[in-house]
């Protein structure tokens, strides 16, 4: 505490002495305490960045290293004994590619449905003169805090005859209340009422108004929704696990559960076992990369939209 007040005094003095006119633009010199704060902050942030980046970096270099070198702990910072064996194994693995194909089309269809359903509903909810508006708001809000739970949900999907069909993956979860309210807030704050009024005076009907005027100026929220839903679908495995039996319908993530998280066994030994372990290990590194590649290729370009989504969602109406 004493130290603090000493710093305060020092700071007061420096700010009390008038700066020479010519040097006014120069940055105010930091007090030692503030300098210490900045140094510690930069060090901590640097450590955090390393903690985030190193595992990802390691996966990349391990995937192109010699399997034995990886397993024996020779790989730390750079690839050792360059080898693409893991990639070969991955490309030969039919399950992975069937899963990849399924995931791609599930993601495309699901995202299209979700964005359409969510956007149109959000547009209606954002209109002050929507009949029964309060009722619908409550209708969607309740689902954010309470639900039927896993088993009744499963029973509904099974009762609709969707078990073991792509519908079980494509339809449930197409409208998330969070995303819905995020889009609603966007429409309320981002679309000027005058545009709507003008269009209505011109006699444009509501559907034309929505499609030819509102949608084109709402591309930021379309992008955010599409990305949220697409990433959600790309990364999900659980619904597929409980709803799908037919392996030809498995999405990538479900295929990966078998490859990546196969529980390690404590028994083992012998040359064959060692060889198999080398291969499966290398395949794991590669599948981590291959399955995350699309997301990470897009990520740097779209991350500003993601952040925007969080921000729009946090606005209160």
């Amino acid at each position: 505490m004493e130290n603090m007040s000493a710093l305060e005094n020092e700071n007061m003095q420096t700010s009390a002495t008038p700066a020479p006119a010519g040097k006014r633009r120069r940055r105010v010199k930091e007090t030692p305490g503030d300098m210490a704060y900045y140094i510690i902050t930069y060090i901590l942030l640097g450590i955090l960045a390393l903690i985030v980046l190193y595992p990802l970096w390691f996966i990349v270099i391990a995937s192109i290293s010699n399997a034995e070198a990886v397993l024996n702990g020779k790989v730390f910072l750079w690839p050792v004994g360059f080898s693409l064996r893991g990639y070969e194994l991955c490309f030969q693995n039919k399950e992975i590619w069937i899963g990849y194909g399924n995931t791609v089309w599930y993601t495309l269809v699901y995202t299209a449905l979700s964005v359409m359903f969510t956007l149109s509903a959000a547009w209606a909810l954002s209109r002050k003169n929507l009949p029964f508006r309060r009722f619908f708001m409550i209708f969607f809000t309740i689902t954010m805090f309470f639900g039927g739970g896993l088993i009744p949900f499963y029973n509904v999907v099974s009762g609709l005859g969707m078990l073991d069909t792509p519908w079980a993956i494509l339809l449930p979860g197409t409208v998330s209340a969070w995303n819905l309210f995020m889009a609603k807030t966007f429409f309320q704050t981002g679309v000027p009422d005058t545009i709507v009024e003008a269009a209505e005076l011109d006699g444009a009907n509501r559907f034309r108004l929505f499609i030819s005027i509102i949608l084109p100026i709402s591309m930021p929220i379309v992008a955010v929704l599409a990305l949220y839903y697409a990433i959600g679908q790309w990364n999900s495995y659980f619904n597929a696990m409980i709803f799908l039996q037919n392996e030809n319908l498995y999405p990538l993530q479900l295929v990966l559960t078998n490859i990546l998280t196969a529980a390690e066994s404590s028994v083992g030994g012998g040359e064959g076992y060692y060889e198999a372990m080398l291969q499966s290990n290398q395949l794991k590194y590669v599948t981590v990369i291959i399955s995350s590649l699309p997301v990470f290729c897009l990520y740097p370009f779209v991350q500003k939209y993601f952040a925007q989504g969080v921000l729009v969602g946090s606005l209160k109406d």
Partner: protein
């Protein structure tokens, strides 16, 4: 009090017409027929003009009704001896038997404790960390660096749970990087996935690794809304950087912190089972079995006690969540005037 009385007096003369609205035909002489009045009411006029907006809601309402509300109705099977395929309304009702069975089960307290501990330990690290990171990022002077760090920190959020757990097995498996380091330093190889002790730290730290950056976005946004003038004023008063954080930044983002706090408390017993399920092994099942994974196993895997019982357990869990949320919301409302609803 006075104001209330006044209002009632004001309302009194209006009362007769309200009675008439309710439909006393005798008093209606000279007024247009009831149907016409309803027809011309503000609501009806608005409805005629704007009913097409309802069409926009159809798909979303349908999907939400089918996949969120019908399951709520399906909760009724928690009170039945349910067999798959039974009609819900005419099932064999057994009252609270399923709940009693769960409360009396030897696994009950273990499940409660496991669920609670996993959440509360995760919360202790996972709640403050994003706030601290946001404050640190906010105070960095180099905006380009700050943007770059945010990109790095947000990245892991987009890794799927399956891949994340896969990475854990690669790093913490018997022949993974961590064990290689342990051995090179002269230690014994350690089976992180087979040891119960290692489960919670591994689960919590990996969750934080994945989401601390993402969770900090909302605080960063709140921080960037803090008025610069307040900082200038504090500077003139001689406040150091740390003091400005404690007395300007933190109070300014307090509302958003309370809202996030309420939401995390509401989710305290609702830990994501998808990741737990992926990390479970025979070795760590004693600490990794939580209510949600138990529900899944009892209800959807062979050898479980069936759908009715599992639904009861899940119902029990969501009621606890709801109560926690309401308590947190009420407490926050009382003490800080910040609340969700």
């Amino acid at each position: 009090m006075e104001a209330n009385l006044f209002e009632e007096e004001q309302a009194a003369p209006a009362a007769p017409s309200a009675v008439a609205e309710a439909g006393v035909p005798a008093a209606e002489a000279g007024k247009p027929p009831l149907r016409t009045r309803i027809h011309n009411s503000a609501f009806a006029r608005n409805f005629r003009k704007n009913w097409t907006y309802l069409l926009f809601l159809i798909p979303a309402v349908a999907v939400t009704f089918i996949f969120a509300y019908v399951p709520m109705y399906g909760l009724l099977i928690a009170f039945q001896d349910y067999m798959p395929g039974d009609p819900i309304l005419t099932g064999s009702w057994i009252g609270f038997e399923n709940f009693k069975l769960f409360l009396g089960d030897y696994a009950f307290w273990d499940l409660m404790l496991n669920t609670f501990l996993l959440c509360i330990l995760g919360f202790i690290i996972g709640f403050p960390l994003p706030i601290i990171v946001a404050v640190m990022l906010h105070t960095t002077k180099n905006k380009k660096l700050s943007k770059f760090l945010q990109t790095v920190f947000n990245g892991p959020h987009f890794i799927s749970l399956v891949v994340l757990v896969g990475m854990l097995t690669l790093f913490f498996g018997r022949y993974g990087l961590v064990n290689n380091i342990i051995e090179s330093m002269g230690g014994e190889r350690y089976s992180f996935f087979l040891e119960a002790k290692a489960f919670r730290p591994m689960y919590i730290l990996s969750s934080n690794w994945q989401d601390f950056g993402w969770s900090s976005i909302i605080y960063l946004a709140a921080l960037s809304g803090v008025e610069q003038a307040q900082h200038e004023a504090a500077k003139i008063d001689g406040a150091s950087r740390v003091q400005r954080i404690l007395h300007v930044d933190i109070p300014a983002i307090m509302p958003i912190i309370s809202v996030m706090l309420i939401m995390s408390i509401g989710g305290l017993m609702g830990v994501g089972y998808e990741k737990v399920l992926l990390m479970q092994t025979d070795g760590n099942i004693g600490v990794s079995e939580i209510i949600a994974t138990y529900v899944y196993k009892q209800g959807l895997t062979p050898g479980g006690r069936g759908a009715g019982y599992a639904t009861a357990v899940g119902f029990f869990n969501s009621i606890i969540n709801l109560i926690l949320l309401i308590i947190a919301n009420t407490v926050s409302k009382r003490f800080s005037e910040n609340s969700l609803f």
